[in-house]
Symmetry: none
Subunit: 402 residues, 2 copies
């Protein structure tokens, strides 16, 4: 792919509009009746769109590589997922709905149990109730607002999980996990993996000591384990790179957070697919790029629930005519990665992809599914090339070279 | 493709097993009756496998590039053939069955003829008989065991060809060929192409002088020409990179040598295809990756013997059910490069490739040949991506990114 500087130099601002619908984890492998979810589902509108579109298959990272949500989405947004990596802590922070700034170092935390000899006996503190978690997070937050010059923000998750964000100048990535990874061991402190991370390690370790002191009375949640220290990745925005004014319509915090990292405006929306498309219609005039995220295809894939995944895509199908009615210059329907019900998790299989615009070479594909997309006019390509393709079809890219 | 550090971090050790069958040079272009070897051959088992597998075409290096055996195999083993290059001398040494260590510098040698004025009159010494070659190699070896601190190992090849391995500390690559490349010229000594190779050049040139002295009485083989100086490439092993415990089943020394370079265990086997698959069955419990090399498809391609190449692949076909009976988690059948009978040599045409596992999207390809594989679900891809794909399908790769 051309590099960012070239993309920047080619992208122009126009009135044309792009709608990118991401059915998370939609790609499947045949299981029920030897068919995939898309082959099983009744999706007349998506199939009709396929027959008027140009289709293909995308690899989020490269063949054989199963991506997490971070790299899979970054690629779709036009960012090389091997160049930009979003650390676990940042993704967790986004997942609990925290807003991150470029000064933030985030990590995931577990409450854990220490015995009287200072030995960790349970790395999950007996999976304490979420309500208890909320209460002790509040207590910790009240007593630890700052360490040295660094602001500390603690947000509860589910059961024993929480997120800590350290906000301050000169914080650095490159800390080992402060987690012995096994019971029967003592508290492990974060170690700097390079010289520049020394001060950051001291702040983090001071937090661990203070938290353990505060939690003394809260057995079994009487210490903390911290992992996945990661800084805000400081991505250039989609506006900087592609001159887009992008908006995100998503129901889950993590995807809103990912969209925010690339400079999208997050539109308020409801929990249902209907509400998401309603939000699209309502805001259609205000932006020129819309990312619409459908979460449940992935969730049911993760749970191995084939039939439920079928129903979600059938519901999406109902709203396709409404999107077409908006007359977007470019409409793409695809997934970020595959989540086959059979595997109950993300997988390496490529994503079905279709692009509709005035300027395509319509191919022979008449159904939107994995094996039809194999025959599509776009062939198989890296997901990071999807955004240039959308821009091109929206006539938002100038000629390269004279 | 993701780089080696990422592959290392994603690969995990599991019980699952991968069998990679490489029919050397199997790819063909239509010649007889306008069909390729695979189209002509009766291969019911390979065709049945194709109908249950996912197919595609691989480029060993890149479009239009005809690879040697070294890069073609390295790619299949998951090594970027543009990053890792195996020098001619090393390949020759492997070809005559020598075992190389990281301290070795290898080159290919020719016996040649000098006239009384010191002018080379025949670069192949009249293609002396292999038996004569063996005899004078023995004489040279008896008289030249060491030069300075460097051990010298001489191994005869066929006719006028032999291999010299210089084994010692601080030997360096980067020598010009010690071969004038034409008759009517004087002996040409090796020149260091960089400062660090100066000592190595001196050792090599001392060898040439000594050999020429010893060979005085052995007209027409009365001097030596040395070419393709190359060091052991010091590749990381497949175990280091991919956490595999790999074994190789091959009948020709060069392929055993290539497999050894990437850390495979070389299994003892017989000369026939039947014996090779017997070896696979006998050792199936002990390893998790098997490379089975079929040489004769390539040999007959090189000789332009279309019918004989057909017969070899038909023989391979007979053993496919026995491999399937082993129930490998992943079975791949492919070539390393094409060797069209029409061209009588390696070519740039991509390789038919099929992969069978529980987790594939079976495509519509029902016959294993070049033009059917064009329509396969894997599309066309770089051969170096085949190994990540095998690992993924064997569930030996973790998720990339969160």
């Amino acid at each position: 792919m051309v590099n960012e500087d070239i993309m920047k130099s080619l992208a122009i601002k126009t009135e044309s509009k792009i709608v990118l619908v991401v059915a998370d984890g939609i790609g499947d492998i045949p299981s029920k009746n030897n068919q995939t979810v898309l082959e099983t589902a009744s999706i007349p509108n998506l199939d009709r769109l396929a027959s008027q579109a140009i289709c293909g298959l995308t690899d989020p990272v490269s063949r054989g590589i199963t991506p997490g949500s971070g790299p899979a989405h970054l690629a779709l947004f036009g960012y090389d997922p091997l160049k930009y990596q979003i650390g676990r802590g940042v993704l967790e922070a986004l997942g609990v709905g925290m807003e991150l700034t470029p000064y933030d170092l985030a990590c995931r935390g577990n409450f854990a149990t220490l015995n009287e000899e200072g030995i960790i006996t349970d790395r999950r503190a007996g999976r304490i109730a979420t309500e208890v978690n909320k209460k002790i997070c509040r207590i910790m937050q009240d007593k630890i607002k700052q360490i040295r010059e660094v602001k500390v923000i603690i947000t509860p998750g589910k059961e024993h999980r929480f997120v800590v964000v350290f906000r301050g100048k000169d914080l650095e990535e490159g800390l080992s996990d402060a987690d012995p990874q096994a019971v029967g061991k003592r508290i492990k402190f974060a170690e700097p993996l390079h010289q520049g991370a020394k001060k950051t390690a001291e702040v983090v370790n001071e937090f661990i000591n203070k938290a353990t002191e505060i939690l003394k009375e809260h057995y079994p949640a009487n210490t903390v384990l911290l992992r996945g220290f990661a800084k805000h990745p400081g991505l250039p925005t989609m506006n900087e790179l592609f001159k887009l004014t992008p908006a995100a319509i998503a129901t889950y915090p993590m995807y809103k957070g990912l969209a925010k990292l690339v400079g999208m405006e997050i539109l308020e929306t409801g929990e249902t697919i209907e509400e998401e498309f309603e939000t699209l219609k309502k805001n259609y005039e205000k932006f020129d790029f819309f990312y619409v995220h459908i979460k449940k295809t992935d969730s049911y894939g993760e749970d191995g629930k084939f039939e439920e995944k079928v129903k979600v895509i059938e519901e999406v199908d109902k709203f396709i005519p409404e999107i077409i009615n908006l007359k977007p210059d470019v409409l793409v329907v695809t997934g970020d990665h595959s989540t086959p019900a059979l595997l109950k998790g993300h997988s390496w299989h490529p994503n079905p992809f279709m692009l509709f615009s005035k300027y395509i070479r319509v191919d022979e594909v008449k159904q939107f599914n994995e094996n039809e997309c194999v025959k599509g006019g776009l062939g198989r390509f890296a997901a990071v090339e999807a955004l240039p393709l959308m821009l091109a079809n929206a006539l938002k890219l100038q000629k390269y070279g004279a």
